[in-house]
């Protein structure tokens, strides 16, 4: 069984967001790039599945659509334990474009399980996974919080508002994962970092695809007014303000 993990390369979650060129572009100067947190958890779960001798997972591949600047991120995924990395050499224009590129790769290189994070922490498109499923005509499961294999029998948990569902599916399928899929991301070991050097990082040319949407401008949220401080003894005053000033009760 083979698992493909889609990887987005995003600014570290502590980044203070700035824009440049008339607020038309994200200012990436001084930005530390990381594996999109949900993608990293998906990779962790994929590793756990492979390490469990009870099932037949024998290959984990990570895939990314983007330029060479993401190679360090892909190499980290290899150091964590992916067997192979693929980068589709294209400027990731929008979710449709990214999903289409990954689908083209899948048509030539089938996988049994495709993991995609619920969204990327930069443009928050939250659509690549479901779009891949549609391009490929695969079943897809969203809001996935766990994937378990029992003799290659697949059981998936999905979060629903106020509860959860346990689902069964057949392969191939796309799992759009969220927090809970793995406990915490792995730190690459020294040995893993050394081994990553020898693992394949394939760069594939992109296919021609339409771009349906385009970011044209960014803006920062308006600055918040000063916080009104209330004495810790005057809880009634707060209730009064929430009712009559903020009008949120």
């Amino acid at each position: 069984m083979k698992i493909l993990v889609c990887i987005s390369n995003v600014p570290d979650t502590t980044t203070k967001v700035k824009f440049k060129e008339g607020d038309s572009l994200f200012d990436d100067s001084g930005v530390q790039w990381i594996i999109n947190p949900w993608d990293e958890l998906a990779l962790t779960r994929a590793m756990e599945l492979k390490e469990d001798a009870g099932n037949s997972v024998n290959e984990i591949c990570v895939i990314h659509v983007g330029g060479a600047s993401a190679d360090a991120t892909l190499r980290k995924a290899l150091a964590i334990g992916a067997d192979k990395a693929v980068r589709i050499d294209a400027c990731p224009a929008d979710a449709y474009h990214v999903a289409g590129q990954i689908a083209e790769y899948l048509k030539e290189n089938p996988f049994d399980i495709i993991f995609s994070g619920i969204e990327s922490s930069d443009y928050n498109g939250s659509s690549v996974g479901a779009m891949i499923a549609e391009f490929m005509d695969y079943p897809g499961i969203s809001s996935v919080t766990s994937v378990n294999l029992d003799d290659d029998d697949i059981q998936v948990n999905r979060a629903i508002p106020g509860g959860k569902q346990v689902l069964k599916t057949e392969t191939p399928f796309v799992a759009v994962v969220q927090k809970g899929i793995a406990k915490e991301p792995r730190i690459p070991s020294m040995r893993g970092i050394m081994m990553a050097r020898k693992k394949p990082l394939e760069v594939k040319p992109a296919v021609e695809l339409e771009v349906l949407t385009e970011s044209i401008k960014f803006e920062l949220p308006p600055a918040k007014g000063a916080c009104k401080m209330i004495d810790s003894e005057s809880a009634e005053q707060l209730v009064e303000l929430l009712r009559n000033e903020a009008k949120v009760l």
Binding site: A72, I187, P188, S189, M190, R191, I193
Partner: protein
Amino acid sequence: MNFEFTEEQLMIRDAARDFAQRELLPGVIERDEKAIYPTEQVKKLGELGFLGMLVGLDYDGGGMDTISYVLAMEEISKIDSSVSVIMSVNNSLVCWGVEKYGTEEQKQKYLKPMARGEKIGAFLLSEPEAGSDATSQRTTAVDMGDHYLVNGTKNWITSGKSASTYIVIAQTHPELKHRGINALIVEADSEGISVGPHENKMGMRASDTHSVMFNNVKVPKENLLGEEGFGFKFAMKSLEGGRIGIASQALGIASGAYELALKYAQERKTFGKEIIKHQAIAFKLADMATEIEAARFFCLKAAWLKDQGKPYGQASAMAKLYAAETAMKVTTEAVQIHGGYGYVKEYHVERLMRDAKLTQIYEGTSEIQKIVISRGLVD
């Protein structure tokens, strides 16, 4: 000249940073206060390969260069020097010596488990009356034909209790003075070894520092490291590399304190503005940042020389001297910037200040470094 790190070096730095944030930061104050040995943390550090990162891949190490080691030591020491001293001693004193001078059998038997982090090593040089002056060893290793018989007491031994493998420096031929000294690999559970009580230290309180007493301990002949009489030179060579580890530790203590002070100075307000906007504080931070950068260059230069196979004793002494002095100064200023908050444990900087003091003392005091450096000037 090239000031760029490789992708791998950066990955190692990030891995060390993630480890420190995730595994070391929670509980660091309590471990320090109650002097609790970081058993779990050291185990995980070993699993990730940090404890043997400098050892070659053939001996189950990480096969990393010394530059990477400096980066990792800095990151871990920003949070917890009690852990980084264990990492430094294991890597640059114990594993290094066995890998460089040990026989194939010694490497298979002793190096591999230490490189994997399954066993911890300790370096037994200091004695109650031979600290900085390492030539006057009182511990004896008498040649009994098929074994050495070791007697004596070693002091201030990092990992003295938790280590499984000791490298012991002892006198075999007193008439030859320092040319009669040997280095032996001794298993810590050998008969006749007893470990003294935990030293109640000012800083790095979670690492276990003990005296180790030898009473007629039999050590097999095959456990001799290097040639007969090589012990003193061996110890000095080991310390040259050890100094890079401690210098990087001091660097980390300094940069950890600086980062906290910088953050605090941007958040804390007095007289209606953030204290970093007061020149008195801003200039302190400017000095701290500059000296830390200089210390970093010293550490990296020494590491680079070692990786290039060039002499690095002088450079590592300078690095250790400068980084330790910087650590003391920067941590003191970091406490000052924090004001009253800096004096309580919750804000971390007072711990870093106590930890910094030790870097001026162990593995050669600042004064000893000046002896090494000044001798190097006229050699």
